[in-house]
Subunit: 208 residues, 2 copies
DNA sequence: GCATATTTGTCCGTATGTATA
DNA sequence: CTATACATACGGACAAATATG
């Protein structure tokens, strides 16, 4: 049942998923495949149009705008909740460290993963299950956007230093400093994503 | 496919939904029923345990605590976004008016619905699709909690005046006043729900 | 524009494993 | 412990919609 992994790592956005094909590939029945498709569709990882099948979701410029609009709205709540939460700050520090060692290994795949983990952990401090699941979905969408980007190093490279700075500010208890750092992070990240999308994306846009 | 309506209005929490029974009642196949169950389960309207079937969700005291923890976290964002949004304030006023006329008719069902509509509209001003769908789910859970309460008048009665006050404060541009009014709303609402749950609930708790 | 082939949506029947009486 | 009921999963079938030539 775990083809989330396939959708999130292996397949490229825009790929059509034929029921018959998938059922053969996984040696499961078509009915079971359909149930799985419902789940993925509900998680917005695939697009499902009537009588036309399911496609791996292609996140466009509008989607990115929506994602960062939400992040700008919600992530400040995360830093508010994290200030003074020693355990959380320690875990965030560990995640940044892991990202830094990945940079040293030139493993940009896990650098991106650690960045996502970082912000998931940041929001977990809110202590709201509802918010956490929303963030989970938000970051899954973001990961789909990452898949369309050609240069992973340029994509994830700049942000481990920013996360490091954020942790330092949080550890120092500098609430407003952390907030402005966060805002700056989000602004530059969104700008870069739009640029990468405009210039060259790995896959065809395939709007139709 | 619209048995959301049934789960949200007709059936009481704790009711077991047998696949065969439902498929017969709606004249559809078990396979289709199963797909629908997956959807409802993902929306947290039903509990789905392996090999034991699906039950209409019973929201307990812990769930209510989680709901209001999230509301206290997120709804302030809604008032921040609504201050200065003339169109939104007008719509909120219309919703309160509709609730007031429902009070005059002794129609407490729609009073509760308008209360939910009110807070949905409030959060819509954030302009975040992600937040809106999260709120949608949050309020669906809350409505399930309402179903367990015996006295609808006592449940919904006190809050139309509070919503009216909130609209007035928003229209006056009194941001901090609106925030404290909101906090007070949430505190008393949660307290009342816990009380009603303790004393007498319409349905059996049926924890097992 | 039309005819054909492919694919989806829906249904039925059946087999197997699990939980409950 | 046995037996029953039920959920899970499989495979085949057909109609409807879509895509292709």
């Amino acid at each position: 049942m775990l083809r989330l992994e396939i959708a999130q790592g292996r397949l490229l956005p825009g790929t059509k998923l034929r029921e018959e094909h998938v059922s053969a590939a996984f040696a499961i029945s078509r009915n079971t495949v359909r149930e799985a498709f419902r789940l993925l569709s509900h998680e917005r990882l695939v697009d499902h149009t009537l009588h036309r099948g399911v496609y791996v979701r292609t996140v466009g410029a509008d989607d990115i705008r929506a994602i960062y609009r939400t992040r700008r709205l919600v992530e400040p709540l995360g830093v508010e909740a994290t200030v003074g939460d020693e355990a959380a700050i320690a875990e965030l520090g560990a995640l940044v460290e892991s990202a830094e060692s990945a940079v040293a290994r030139d493993d940009w795949e896990v650098v991106g993963t650690r960045d996502i983990d970082f912000h998931r952990r940041l929001m977990a401090s809110c202590g709201s299950e509802h918010v956490s699941t929303m963030v989970e979905r938000l970051l899954a969408e973001l990961r789909l956007a990452f898949l369309r980007m050609p240069d992973r190093r340029a994509l994830h490279g700049p942000y481990v230093a920013r996360n490091r700075r954020l942790v330092t500010l949080l550890a120092a208890g500098d609430r407003s400093g952390a907030l402005t750092e966060l805002r700056d992070y989000l602004d530059t990240a969104e700008k870069q994503l739009h640029n990468s999308l405009k210039n060259g994306s790995t896959t065809d846009p395939t709007p139709k």
